[in-house]
């Protein structure tokens, strides 16, 4: 423990000190009180339920933020993601053409002025299609991650916190979903769907993605709830809801954020894979996966048709995985 924290210890310990005494004295037991006091002092982050954890949490997050701002990986990936999101919302900013306007006479032709990436087999402009493809990927990635993260952390967190039969049931249900290979499940599930929107794909990814987040959230909550300050909060008579929301959740959320950020990248790749196999997004939607799938058989004649959407897809996935990496490094003090 660093020295500067020393003076803080006793000062913050004082307001907490009397409370365990009050809580414990009616039962007339001296033991637990001594234990709580000892624990508080030796840890030097006293389990003050009102001030302690929030101070601590704020310092972890602001600490992480300070480290992130100086991390070039974080800055680069954030800028890339910002650019992608802007392009996904307003593709007209950098592409003036219509992605669905195609001239068959230009089929598979190389680049020419105004059309820097050339044309695909149908004679559509590869540049315009690559720009417009960002929307589908970002939408699927963001929506699927939000869904899976909310569902997974809610179920996993509750299971980890309350334990008992609910935990056992959830773990087995998660095992059921883990037992199904993702691409395979996608083929079976999505091959019967005829909708051309992105929602079936999002729904499927949430369906198979939540157990992963739930597992992380569960483990993280179990670790967090064993901390002394949580035990202290329980000893002080805090209810389950208050303990979960004020003490456990803020200290358990970091791993979930990290996994969700990285998962966002892999979900985008998964969407492209499903579209590549012909069951993900369907043609009127402009998608990198579909374009790559159409370009792949022609790789010997016109590699540019494959390389541009594939490059855009890879860079997008890369940006999110880099972001997740940087966030993890910042939130995991163990590795510093």
């Amino acid at each position: 423990m660093p020295d500067p924290e020393r003076p803080e210890g006793p000062a913050m310990y004082d307001p907490v000190g009397p409370r365990p005494r009050e809580a414990v004295s009616p039962t007339g037991q001296g033991g637990p009180m001594d234990l709580a006091v000892e624990g508080g002092e030796s840890l030097e982050r006293p389990p003050g339920p009102d001030t302690g954890p929030r101070e601590k949490a704020r310092s972890l997050w602001s600490d992480a933020w300070h480290q992130l701002r100086r991390n070039p990986v974080f800055v680069i990936s954030s800028l890339m993601i910002l650019f992608l999101v802007v392009i996904a919302i307003w593709p007209q900013l950098i592409a003036s053409g219509d992605p669905l306007y195609c001239q068959l006479s230009k089929s598979q032709q190389g680049p020419e002025p105004g059309h820097p990436f050339g044309y695909d087999t149908q004679g559509c402009d590869v540049y315009t299609r690559t720009v417009y493809g960002a929307r589908a990927s970002i939408t699927v990635g963001v929506c699927a991650t939000l869904g899976a993260a909310l569902l997974g952390s809610a179920l996993g967190g509750l299971a980890g916190f309350f334990g008992s039969w609910g935990d056992a049931v959830l773990s087995r249900v998660a095992d059921v979903f883990f037992g199904i290979p993702v691409v395979l499940g996608g083929l079976v599930f999505l091959s019967v769907v005829t909708s051309t929107t992105v929602w079936p794909v999002v729904g499927f990814i949430v369906l198979l993605g939540w157990p992963q987040i739930a597992r992380i959230a569960r483990g993280s909550v179990i670790t967090a709830k064993q901390n002394d300050y949580v035990q202290a909060a329980r000893a002080l008579g805090a209810g389950n809801g208050r303990m979960l929301l004020r003490h456990v959740a803020p200290n358990a959320v970091a791993p979930v954020i990290v996994v969700a950020t990285i998962a966002l990248g892999t979900y985008i790749a998964l969407e492209a894979t499903l579209s590549f196999l012909g069951v993900g997004l369907r043609p009127p939607t402009v998608s990198w996966g579909i374009d790559i799938s159409n370009a792949a058989p022609q790789i010997r004649n016109a590699p540019h048709m494959l390389l541009w959407p594939a490059g855009a897809l890879s860079l997008t996935v890369l940006a999110f995985i880099m972001l997740g990496d940087a966030v993890r490094d910042a939130l995991d003090p163990k590795l510093r």
Partner: protein, 307 residues
């Protein structure tokens, strides 16, 4: 130990039933296998009804499932709609995919762990950074892109390997597909073992071992590696199932007639017995691999005991 294995095997039963029923439900309830038999033509109602009765499809779904499972445990996986028995298809497909998986796991373990140890011990040095960037790139490029690119470069342009695999799929033709299949997992194995090694390198027992005067390679292989491998083993174990089922993309690119190829054909043609049968076997493989991983824990870390 024995009791632990039995308990785990018992716990597998509900998971097995859940997974297979989920797939069964998706295939039989969401799709219509009989309509698929007729292709684009509208089926004659009387014929359709007779086929439904023959195939046990006129019963409620749970009865169909029980009937199907009953047959599976008698070794009868049914007949694909083209008249070939599913067991025959499996006998031809599973050895091919197994070989492909072995090649992939081999590269994962050898290259992944080696790179992980090298970078983990040199955290922050230039080799660490470059390998880390490389793994990031590998993870970001989807398998179907790397597959086509490597096939084009090595198979077509330079002609080092055959671009597609012959039906027998001997080991030497599976090297490139195996690498393509392994690449993403390989990058994860590298990163996992790197993190784990870097974390444990600061542990007291490593300092003790060094202080005892043990040579560095012995400290690394005996003390550090053994303790750092647990997360890696977990990952590789769960990856076996993912590789066998996830080979759909790789097998499609290199035209390998394995499990993924059969499944893809089965799903496209709505060939329900094939799909459910193959998935059932894959689920069993996945569950057994997970059990094996948990048992390996005890070997790697003697502090873990199973009562």
């Amino acid at each position: 130990m024995g009791r632990y294995v039995i308990r785990r095997l018992l716990q597998m039963i509900p998971v097995f039933i859940g997974s297979t029923f989920l797939i069964f439900f998706m295939v039989y309830a969401l799709g219509d296998p009989v309509a698929a038999l007729f292709g684009d033509k509208a089926p004659d109602p009387a014929t359709a009804a007779r086929i439904r009765k023959d195939l046990y499809l006129d019963q409620p779904l749970w009865k169909q499932y029980l009937h199907y499972m009953g047959q599976i445990f008698q070794g009868d996986f049914g007949t694909a709609f083209n008249g070939q028995s599913v067991t025959d298809l499996m006998a031809s497909a599973f050895p091919v995919t197994l070989r492909l998986t072995i090649v992939a796991i081999f590269f994962e373990i050898v290259i992944g762990i080696t790179l992980g140890v090298i970078t983990g011990l040199r955290r922050g040095k230039s080799i660490d950074t470059s390998v880390l960037v490389l793994t990031l790139v590998v993870i970001s490029v989807p398998t179907f892109v790397t597959g086509y690119l490597l096939q084009y470069v090595f198979g077509v342009k330079w002609g080092w390997v055959r671009p597609t695999v012959s039906p027998d799929a001997p080991f030497n033709e599976l090297i490139l597909p195996g690498i393509v299949l392994a690449l993403v997992s390989l990058a994860y194995v590298t990163r996992l073992s790197r993190t784990s090694i870097a974390e444990n390198a600061k542990a007291d027992y490593v300092r003790t071992a060094t202080a005892k005067g043990l040579p560095r390679h012995r400290v690394v292989t005996r003390h550090l590696l053994r303790n750092s491998l647990i997360p890696v083993v977990t990952f590789i174990g769960t990856d076996i199932g993912a590789l066998m089922g996830g080979a759909i993309v790789t097998e499609r690119i290199f035209n390998i007639h394995g499990v993924g190829y059969q499944l893809y054909q089965g799903i496209l043609r709505n060939n329900s017995p094939t799909v459910v049968g193959f998935v059932t076997i894959l689920v069993i493989v996945f569950l057994l691999a997970n059990l094996l991983v948990d048992l390996l824990y005890a070997v790697l870390d003697p502090r873990i005991r199973y009562a």
